[in-house]
Amino acid sequence: MVFFIIILGPRISERALELLNLPNDGVPKLLLDIGCGSGLSGETLSENGHHWIGYDISQSMLDIAVEREVEGDVLLGDMGQGLGLRPGVVDGAISISAVQWLCYADKSSHEPRMRLKAFFGSLYRCLARGARAVLQLYAENMNQSEMIMTYAMRAGFSGGVVVDWPHSSKARKEYLVLTCGPASLQTALPKGKGEDGEMCSDEDDSDDDENQTVGVYERNRPRKKLKVNKKGKSKGKQWVLKKKEQMRRKGNDVPPDSKYTARKRKAYF
């Protein structure tokens, strides 16, 4: 079991780092590794030249990380208690197979919802504007996925889910890709890996044609627009007054006209 994780681990963290979409400027960034364990995923970050701070709730796992002399600093902490970092200081965050644990009631008996709220709230705050968090997770069921997504959105994140190898029960991986700030071209998600019916092999990292991106969640709804008729003219005051008169003649209860009737309002609310 441990062997399996060591082989696949770096591959998953490479993908998570890729999904962070960091600028390709050769400048090391300051990243978080949430649920860093013994430092396997953190090593991927170090190999790519970045500095990182790791969080884990297991002292024994962190002891191993220290023994292995990982280059990042590791902290013993519970992400459900909040990350305790200053606002806007982190350039990106990854998490491999850890965030789903927030959905389970932990020994302190605090509600999962409070923990999800504390985690995502503190994560959002500590990320720089436009920075991403990529959380690879194994949600037990749709309820968990949705709960996690809901609290991420409430904290202010926009984003969605990238699914690699959706048709392979063994290889399937879900990455929750969150951006700190409103949705924009920069937050557009890449396509998931995997082609219909094809067996995925560990060696095969080629881009496949059939791609899957599942569920993009926009935090901001589209702006309301002025109603326009077929000629592209907006329905003005005259039209409104005429309509109201028509309704009155029909016998409907219509508010009296005033200086406020069909007054120009801002195009968006």
């Binding site: 701070i53 709730i57 600093d73 902290l75 990350l83 305790g84 200053r86 503190s122």
Partner: protein, 122 residues
């Protein structure tokens, strides 16, 4: 734990309004040399709370940082070396981080700060 990390940490206890900076009490620390990357230093500088870095470095016996720092100093190799050393080369192995508001101590063992909050602190 390096001072880069210390500079980012803030006390998370419920009700605490200003948990930064955590006071550094160091019983054991070591120096580990790493390559200097000027790009990284210039990029991280705006995010560093200088007075917190200054105080933490002094707690580790490193008094070579200027009292105040501004971005113009980043063109000086000498300044970059000192900044680099304080930020990335000093590792606290044993000691504690102390909340400035409550006095609560978060112990550091084997370089790992224990930031776990008690039941009543959440």
């Amino acid at each position: 734990m390096r001072l880069l990390t210390h500079n980012m940490l803030s006390c998370n206890i419920k009700g605490v309004t200003n948990g930064f900076p955590l006071k550094l009490e160091a019983d054991k620390w070591v120096t580990k040399e790493v390559d200097l990357n000027a790009d990284f230093l210039r990029g991280i500088f705006p995010k560093i709370e200088w007075s917190a870095l200054l105080a933490a470095a002094r707690a580790l016996g490193f008094a070579e940082l200027p009292e105040q720092a501004d971005a113009s100093m980043l063109s000086s190799d000498d300044f970059l070396r000192r900044f680099h050393h304080a930020l990335l080369e000093l590792h606290v192995e044993e000691g504690a981080l102390v909340c400035p508001e409550t006095g609560r101590k978060f112990p550091i063992n084997k370089g790992i700060p224990n930031m776990l909050l008690h039941e009543d602190e959440v």
